[in-house]
């Protein structure tokens, strides 16, 4: 009855079977497939719409009601420069409220003048405008400046020097070019942590880890299996983002494909190692979610996904540079935007390698199977 078979490799290769089981489980879960692959694309689309064809900002101006409001409005409408004004007239209270809530950039009060701005003020012989703006908001400061220029010109100011404006909008220097490597890093971090952490803790909750522990399965096979399946899931995820960014926004890689591929792989290994570490002790899904948020939030803030991490003060820079996401994003940007080679990026590569080796080793040591 017992037809025993002995086959150490081939059909019964444990690492292969572990990876295969993960792949099957994943692909048979349509929701998971959507969230892993659909979400990064949706995010890129959303951000792309926000940043792509954005015209030069319209400056939102509110003119306080009054006899000369119409004349002020006409003066702004006669603008010949690239600035465009979105002008509205409102009561003083309403104007202030709009400024306070950020719906308008600047408020112009011309009520000191009569119905004709060219008519001089009786006191000092000039037209008089009062600007209300928020000096802490860049938009507001710029708006005040632009509105003032326009009104001064309309009032008859002559600029002593002649100027010419050349607008530059080349691929590589746009915000979307800066953003895509950041999103790539963020997606590698999120995918690695959630993808590895959730699956691992779920198996622990189901006592499947404990069941595996009672078999001769090698622990390294198991942990490697989880990491390798994560690498495989990552490929289409990353490709979707890069291909979409390439064809929708013309985001191109100025470095070599090899360098970008290497960095993506290293990033994926690093974050699946950290995911494994985050999941190494947690007994519930809630616990691991908390740990992963704790791990990710500092990197969302400091690692320069949406803006350069160098904007933070010098004192915290060593901490920021030691976070695993910072070297990943900065080296991806260095390759994709500046065409740097890997040889020039040894420090960030070393930081990421250290993170992946240390987290995998600690995860293996601390891993709770029960």
């Amino acid at each position: 009855m017992s037809q025993t078979s002995t086959s150490p490799s081939g059909r019964y290769w444990p690492l292969g079977q572990l990876v295969l089981a993960r792949l099957r489980e994943f692909l048979r879960e349509p929701e998971a497939v959507f969230w892993v692959y659909g979400f990064p694309i949706l995010m890129t689309v959303g951000l792309g719409i926000a940043f792509k064809n954005r015209p030069i900002d319209e400056i939102s101006v509110v003119i306080v009601e009054g006899p000369s409001a119409k004349a002020t409005q006409d003066a702004l409408a006669s603008s010949t420069t690239s600035e465009r004004f979105d002008v509205e007239v409102a009561a003083p209270d309403e104007a202030r409220r709009r400024l306070r809530t950020g719906r308008t950039d600047v408020v112009v009060d011309s009520s000191a003048n009569g119905s004709n701005p060219s008519q001089t003020n009786e006191a000092n012989g000039t037209t008089r405008y009062v600007y209300q703006f928020d000096p802490t908001r860049a938009d507001s400061v710029l708006a005040r400046k632009a509105v003032d220029d326009q009104l001064q010109r309309a009032a008859g100011r002559k600029d002593p020097a002649e100027t010419e404006l050349v607008e530059i909008n080349e691929p590589g220097g746009r915000y979307i070019d800066f953003l895509v490597p950041g999103l790539l890093g963020m997606s590698l971090m999120g995918g690695g942590l959630w993808g590895v952490g959730f699956v691992t803790v779920d198996m622990r909750v189901r006592k499947l880890l404990k069941r595996f522990l009672a078999t001769p399965m090698k622990k390294t096979d198991f942990l490697m299996g989880i990491m390798i399946s994560r690498m495989l899931f990552m490929v289409p995820e990353v490709l979707a983002l890069l291909v979409f960014a390439r064809y929708a926004f013309g985001v191109v890689n100025h470095g070599t494909t090899l360098a970008v591929t290497f960095l993506i792989l290293l990033g994926a290994v690093t974050f699946s190692g950290i995911g494994l570490l985050a999941a190494s002790r947690a007994k519930t899904i809630e616990a691991v979610s908390g740990i992963m948020n704790l791990v990710m939030v500092p990197m969302w803030i400091f690692s320069g996904i949406f803006f350069s991490s160098e904007r933070f003060p010098g004192a915290v820079q060593p901490f920021i540079k030691a976070l695993p996401l910072t070297p990943l994003i900065s080296s991806l940007r260095a390759v994709m935007l500046e065409g740097m080679s890997l040889a020039e990026l040894l420090t960030p590569i070393a930081i990421m390698t250290a993170w992946s080796v240390i987290s995998f080793a600690l995860a293996l040591r601390w891993f709770r199977w029960r």
Binding site: Q3, S5, L18, A21, R24, E25, R28, L208
Partner: protein, 321 residues
């Protein structure tokens, strides 16, 4: 030759106060026998079997499994051991055959996954996802996962708890089939009928110790008779002061016990004892509300030794439910 030997096994869980789940447990399981650990919930059965399976570390004491020791020869033991836990949720989106192929891959040698499917009678379900299996089928798959490494020792923790009677019988048949190949089975259960029908020998465990050991027949014989007479009476008269011991002197009665308002007598020859008991009851002028005779069971052995019922929790739950 011994398949399992435990000597002075102790497991203490660090807590305030520390909990001693196993307190000096002795156990010897022969190769080729089906051995049952019978006891109520919380007796230490699961802790004991998990120490034997290498999933828990004993606080002190010796454990030998098929002549090997945990900590030194882990892989030797695991290659020869098949287990099922009290509760494992296998991956729902893998098929029966895929699950077994995964488990098969962990062992150097074993049976074909399809053979394991056949042994537990899941041929019709082998391509179905685990999700679609009934509770009994899932449990048979769990046993198949234990069989696929072609083990010498099968350790099953409460393999039939929560299953319907038909599924329980199917599991019993699988275990009997395995035992017939000359291999060893260790199982835990809190069902006395399961221990009686399935096990060659039973250790009754309570509060972390073995309180009785033997074949089911030996254990029942230790009661002094393999039949039981039970009676209850109307408690409105002078009935409260009834002394159960007075029945022990009657012919054929070896032991008596009273709990709540029921007297239980161990009897070797019911046809001799019954008339004497009835006569005695008549002389006491008791109004009987119930009288029954039945075969003695391991439950009676447990009640005699531990002073309470095996599934007291279950009983109180069903009362409150």
């Amino acid at each position: 030759m011994l398949a399992i030997r435990c000597h002075e096994l102790v497991k203490r869980y660090e807590a305030k106060p520390p909990v001693e789940a196993v307190r000096g447990l002795e156990l010897s399981v022969e190769v080729g026998e089906c051995f049952g650990l019978l006891g109520p919930n919380g007796a230490g059965k699961t802790t004991t079997i998990e120490i034997i399976e290498g999933l828990l570390e004993a606080t002190s004491g010796e454990v030998e499994v098929m002549g090997y020791h945990w900590g030194r020869q882990d892989d030797d033991i695991r290659q020869r051991l098949g287990i099922s836990l009290q509760e494992t949720r296998l991956s729902e989106k893998l098929s029966v055959l895929e699950t077994l192929t995964l488990f098969r891959s962990f062992y150097r040698r074993g049976i074909e996954p399809s053979e394991a499917v056949a042994r537990v009678g899941l041929e019709e379900k082998q391509a179905a996802w685990v999700k679609s299996l009934s509770g009994g089928q899932k449990q048979r798959l769990a046993v198949a996962c234990a069989l696929v490494g072609d083990p010498e020792l099968l350790c099953l923790d409460e393999p039939t708890t929560g299953l319907d009677p038909q599924s329980r019988r199917q599991i019993w048949e699988i275990i009997r089939g395995f035992r017939q190949t000359g291999r060893t089975v260790l199982l835990t259960t809190h069902y006395m009928d399961e221990a009686e029908r399935l096990c060659d020998r039973v250790a009754i465990v309570d509060a972390g110790r073995v309180i009785a050991l033997g074949t089911p027949a030996e254990l029942i014989a230790s009661l002094g008779g393999d039949h039981v007479i039970e009676f209850t009476w109307a408690s409105n008269g002078s009935a409260q002061q009834i002394d159960a011991a007075q029945f022990e002197k009657l012919p054929g009665v070896s032991e008596s016990r009273i709990d709540e308002e029921r007297v239980t007598l161990s009897v070797s020859e019911p046809h001799v004892a019954l008339p004497a008991v009835l006569k005695k009851l008549a002389s006491l002028d008791l109004e009987l509300t119930g009288l029954s005779t039945r075969h003695a069971s391991l439950e009676d052995v447990f009640v005699k030794l531990a002073g309470r019922h095996l599934n007291e929790d279950d009983i109180s739950q069903s009362v409150t439910a």
